[in-house]
């Protein structure tokens, strides 16, 4: 089978793309030149809109449309780049940051030009210290060659990038929490509206774009919206990096055309399952997404096809679980994650998340009872949809989906007063 010709990951693994000369040798900064010398900001924005690029951070909102919401009222506008990747099972931005920093810089500069931003803020997850250092060095190299700072490439366009290191909080990946965090506050999401386009960073009109999203921009400018729009499904086209982890032979980041079947991703790219194992469940869009199962393997990996299966593409964290996996144990790690990461503002998330995590842990420890099972199967309605931000709504999807699919497995934990998978878990660890 012919592999998709990588766009965002091109050269990674063969060339050191943290070296500006190597990046330029691959055609780097040609799109910036083209945008600044040959295109108006409106034309750049039009091209991105026409490409149908949808945000790669999780929500899949059309990028051009997001940009178009900025009011034309003369206030300074800010562009914030979200590199706070922490969605369980997602590790693509980590790779782009450490191995393709100039692509991010070029994408940010073109985007800032398109929206007439006053400044760019790059928010990098605190744990990505190495990536932070690589990015800072890349900024220095870009500045030395006139790609950053005053009068970029001799044009009237001046721009700088402020790098802000996070300090450990998953919730800061939510765009309004990120703005609070840059402002030096607790990373608590804001009530929307107002949306960041109207009242964002320091109360000014702000766009927050994900690392992978901005990395697409130079390619759209260089090769044209039509080229981008022709890859994959019409309504959510383009190349997409999927982070594949869990029980596959070759876990890794794979760049694929949006919409390829889940089966192809697992078998052709990730080397398939381990010999003798059967697929049990997949989380297709990070820890927040509901599971899909064997019968869904022909589903396309894209925003709309997965939404039709009542789950999501999300951030593209694709976690594969084979038949040695205990669904209660898997649910335990994820509910504990959300319990730990809740900012505590909304009661259903703060309290509900805590109780759910406790009940699942109890089941896994063999101390659960029938009433826990009843509560877990009905609590979705009171937790989901009752919070300020998507974190609270992320607690239940996976748990509910596997509880519906494998009710007997949860019941066995009560009946046997323990985890029947202990042996299975040990076997999966040894592999």
């Amino acid at each position: 089978m012919a592999r998709f010709e990588p766009v965002l990951l091109r050269g990674i693994g063969q060339l050191d793309l943290t070296d500006i000369e190597n990046y330029k040798q691959l055609g780097g900064f040609a799109a910036l030149e083209k945008a600044l010398r040959e295109m108006t900001p409106e034309a750049v924005q039009g091209e991105v809109s026409a490409s149908n690029l949808r945000g790669r951070g999780g929500a899949g909102f059309p990028t051009g449309k997001k940009w178009s919401f900025l009011p034309k009222d003369g206030r300074p506008r800010y562009l914030v780049c979200n590199c706070d990747e922490a969605e369980p099972g997602t590790f693509k931005d980590h790779l782009l940051l450490e191995q393709a920093p100039f692509q991010i810089i070029e994408g940010l500069l073109i985007s800032a030009y398109a929206i007439n931003a006053a400044q760019i803020f790059m928010y990098i997850r605190g744990e990505f210290l190495e990536g932070f250092r690589i990015f800072k060095r890349a900024l220095d190299a870009a500045r030395l060659q006139g790609y950053l700072g005053k009068r970029i490439l001799g044009t009237d366009f001046s721009m700088d990038i402020v790098v802000h290191r996070g300090a450990g909080a998953y919730i800061c990946g939510e765009e309004t929490a990120m703005l609070e965090s840059i402002e030096g506050k607790r990373g608590e999401p804001r009530l929307k509206p107002p949306f960041p386009a109207n009242a964002g960073l320091y109360g000014m009109p702000t766009v927050v774009n994900n690392v992978e999203t901005v990395s697409c921009v130079p390619h759209i400018i260089e090769r044209g919206a039509q080229w981008f729009a022709s890859i994959g499904p019409e309504k959510c086209p383009g190349p997409k990096i999927i982070s594949v982890s869990g029980h596959v032979v070759r876990p890794g980041n794979y760049e694929v055309p949006m919409g390829i079947p889940a089966r192809e991703l697992i078998e052709e790219y990730a080397g398939g399952l381990f010999p003798g194992r059967r697929l049990k469940a997949i989380q297709p869009g990070g820890g927040s997404s509901a599971a899909i199962f064997e019968e869904d393997l022909d589903t396309g990996i894209d925003f709309d096809s997965l939404a039709a299966k009542r789950t999501m593409l999300g951030s593209g964290g694709f976690v594969v679980m084979d038949d040695t996996t205990c669904m209660v144990r898997a649910s335990q790690t994820l509910t504990r994650f959300f319990e730990h990461e809740s900012c505590g503002q909304c009661t259903p998330c703060r309290e509900g998340g805590q109780w759910v995590a406790r009940m699942v842990s109890r089941l896994e420890a063999g101390e659960g009872n029938e009433s826990d099972l009843r509560v877990l199967s009905t609590i979705n309605d009171t937790i989901t949809g009752t919070n300020l931000c998507p974190l609270g709504d992320s607690i239940m999807p996976f748990l509910s989906s596997v509880l519906r699919r494998f009710p007997e497995e949860f019941a066995d934990h009560v009946r046997e007063a323990g985890c029947p998978f202990r042996v299975g878990v040990a076997a999966s660890m040894a592999s």
Binding site: P88, E127, V162, H164, R165, I182, E183, G184, T333, S428
Partner: protein, 164 residues
């Protein structure tokens, strides 16, 4: 405030449209030297941001990479979330706890080691993974850990939570 900290504070304040944005980077800078966020650092940060020390403390307490009390110099943070769990994190954690003689969130009495089980580190294709003073180690087997531990035991990490 020491002259060095004053210098850093003014650099940070100049970097942002509003001075409170300097709060977290300033605390990170102080922590790199002090090993944790001291009360003095909280007071200095509050002054820079123009807020009360209580507010500064509340903000600092929100972030897991800002330590509120002294912790061991070698900070070992092992991922515990789903993808690592599927590829041996339980076994690794058990081994690390036993080798260090520490539970989750504990520091050794001699102040050399700190152990924590943390949430997804975004390195799920090379699971199980851990960070040592924010440096990644991937695909870590118990044997790999023993080798790393020997190295760490023989070294003094100095600035163990670098700010930059």
């Amino acid at each position: 405030m020491t002259p060095e900290r004053e210098r850093r504070a003014s650099e940070l304040v100049a970097r942002y449209p509003e001075s409170q944005s300097a709060l977290i980077p300033f605390l990170q800078f102080c922590q790199a030297h002090d090993g944790y966020v001291t009360q003095q650092a909280i007071h200095d940060a509050a002054e820079i941001a123009g807020i009360t020390p209580g507010e500064a403390e509340s903000i600092a307490s929100f972030y897991t990479l800002l330590f509120k009390e002294p912790v061991g110099k070698h900070k070992i943070q092992v991922c515990r979330t789903l993808s690592c769990m599927l590829r041996g994190a339980d076994e690794l954690q058990q081994h690390v706890r036993q080798r260090l003689g520490l539970g989750n969130g504990e520091s050794s009495p001699d102040g050399r080691f700190y152990y924590e089980e943390v949430e997804c580190l975004a390195a799920c294709d090379r699971a199980p993974c851990l960070q040592h003073n924010l440096e990644f180690h991937y695909d870590v087997t118990p044997e790999d850990f023993d080798r790393l531990l020997d190295e760490w035991r023989a070294s003094d990490p100095g600035v163990s939570m670098p700010a930059e």
